[in-house]
Amino acid sequence: MGTQKGHSAYRLAWENSFGERIPFLPLHRRDLVSAEEGNRTYVGENGERINWRKFDIMGEVVMGVQRSQRTPYPMIQRYDELTRLVLDTKPMRDEEVRPYCLSAGRRRSI
């Protein structure tokens, strides 16, 4: 599921899974952005004809997201302790995380 070949492994899995699923949003957002900015909405001499191809491409992404939203997950029990653990913890931000990496590198090269 890596970033090679434009996430082709993820894309294949995404298109072929028909159960419940939550999309990897950054990828779909990137697809929408590139469809949006890479294609003109209007074509033609006076720019009055609509480039439907662009919306077809955006529509593919939207359809996938819509389909996944309509397939509900079975009811999952809440686990409050865990919810609080994840949501209440302040993770280390970039500047703090890097020093940890650097100090580990000095002591032992990985």
Binding site: L32, T41, T89
Partner: protein, 359 residues
């Protein structure tokens, strides 16, 4: 495109099919379509699975090139043209019902498009007219029910809004169409029995939505596609809307509240929790956030420029999900890097990998 041309040639085509063949073939150098051509395709009888996707895509994204009122006016004028046309009754009825089913789908999925008073008035007037004809009465009532859900318009971020469209042409068109809608509509007998008409007109559809749709849709409509769709959209609209609001409510409770700096305590807690539970809980949180917004919200979020994104109220659900996603990413990284010793880090890494593989 080829599919439509072939199937159209072998059938005794209706008017719309023939005009679609003529107008849909784009020239190689100019691949665009006009708005009218797109609307024609929208209301044409579905010829392939592509057309279903086309309808969904069009209704989701049309606001990038047209305000709702324009689409509404175009649909209404198509309806009126066909009423004035000379097609045989059954064909006309099925085409008109197809058009009305598109309107029903539109009002069910995007009621916010009709928030502007002028648009709302236009569609209510149209429905009142259509209601008089017993053939379309049921469809008109169903569409009215969809419109009863009062929703704000989510028009921030669309290039085309009804408010910007200050032209008075729409007002004139309204007046002429009210006058010129021909009286034959009221006197059309159609193929339906008096008994059926009596039953429909005396029922109060407001109370018994789902049951009635299953009773009547089978007998009323010629085209079975409308029957299937009216069954599903009647309950679909109400239940989807309820589910959507429920998710939003829950999502608000799941906002990030960073209180504790990550420390060994959390680390130990985390390592002790079984993989399954962790995976399940994360899924639950993600699912609630994910269902709290619609695809259109995502599309708008993508097109709005950077600094405004966080301020728009209607996009709060998308923003929340994105923030939570980023938070989780940092959470994982921090959890792994918290402990200095590689063996602890490896343990945390393995744990996360185990969680990720829970199916």
């Amino acid at each position: 495109m080829e599919e439509e041309a072939d199937s159209g040639a072998s059938r005794p085509g209706s008017s719309s099919e023939q005009s679609i063949e003529k107008t849909m073939a784009p020239t190689p150098t100019d691949p665009g379509y006009t708005f009218d051509q797109l609307v024609d395709r929208l209301i044409g009888l579905p010829l392939s699975k592509q057309d279903n996707k086309f309808t969904e895509t069009f209704l989701c994204l049309y606001r990038k090139f047209a305000p709702p009122l324009r689409l509404l006016n175009t649909l209404i004028s198509r309806f009126e043209e066909k009423e004035r046309g000379t097609l045989p009754q059954l064909t006309r009825a099925s085409e008109q019902l197809q058009l009305l089913s598109i309107v029903a789908q539109w009002t069910a999925e995007y009621p916010g498009d009709f928030a502007h008073p002028r648009t709302r008035r236009r569609i209510k007037e149209f429905l009142n007219l259509v209601d008089r004809n017993h053939v379309y009465m049921f469809a008109a009532k169903e569409i009215s029910m969809h419109l009863d859900i009062s929703v704000e318009d989510d028009d921030v971020g669309w290039p085309f809004n009804d408010e910007d469209d200050e032209s008075t042409d729409s007002e004139d068109a309204l007046l002429t169409s009210v006058q010129s809608l021909p009286t034959p509509i009221c006197t059309n007998q159609g193929p339906f029995s008096d008994d059926l008409i009596h039953r429909i007109s005396t029922l109060d559809l407001g109370d018994d939505g789902p049951d009635l749709s299953s009773q009547n849709s089978g007998t009323l409509s010629n085209s079975s596609s409308l029957a299937a769709r009216s069954d599903s959209t009647l309950t679909y609209s109400a239940t989807m809307h309820a589910a959507y609001e429920d998710a939003q409510r829950k999502a608000r409770q799941l906002s990030l509240t960073p209180k504790f700096l990550l420390s060994k305590i959390q680390w130990r807690l985390f390592m002790d929790i079984p993989d399954d539970d962790f995976a399940r809980e994360l899924t639950r949180i993600d699912w609630i956030m994910f269902t709290s917004f619609r695809p259109r919200d995502l599309v708008r979020h993508v097109s709005i420029s950077g600094k405004d994104k966080d301020k728009i109220k209607s996009l709060e659900n998308v923003n929340r999900m994105i923030k939570e996603f980023n938070h989780l990413a940092f959470f994982v990284a921090s959890m792994i890097l918290l402990r200095d010793k590689p063996k602890h880090r490896a343990k945390a890494l393995e744990k996360f990998m185990g969680v990720a593989q829970v199916s």
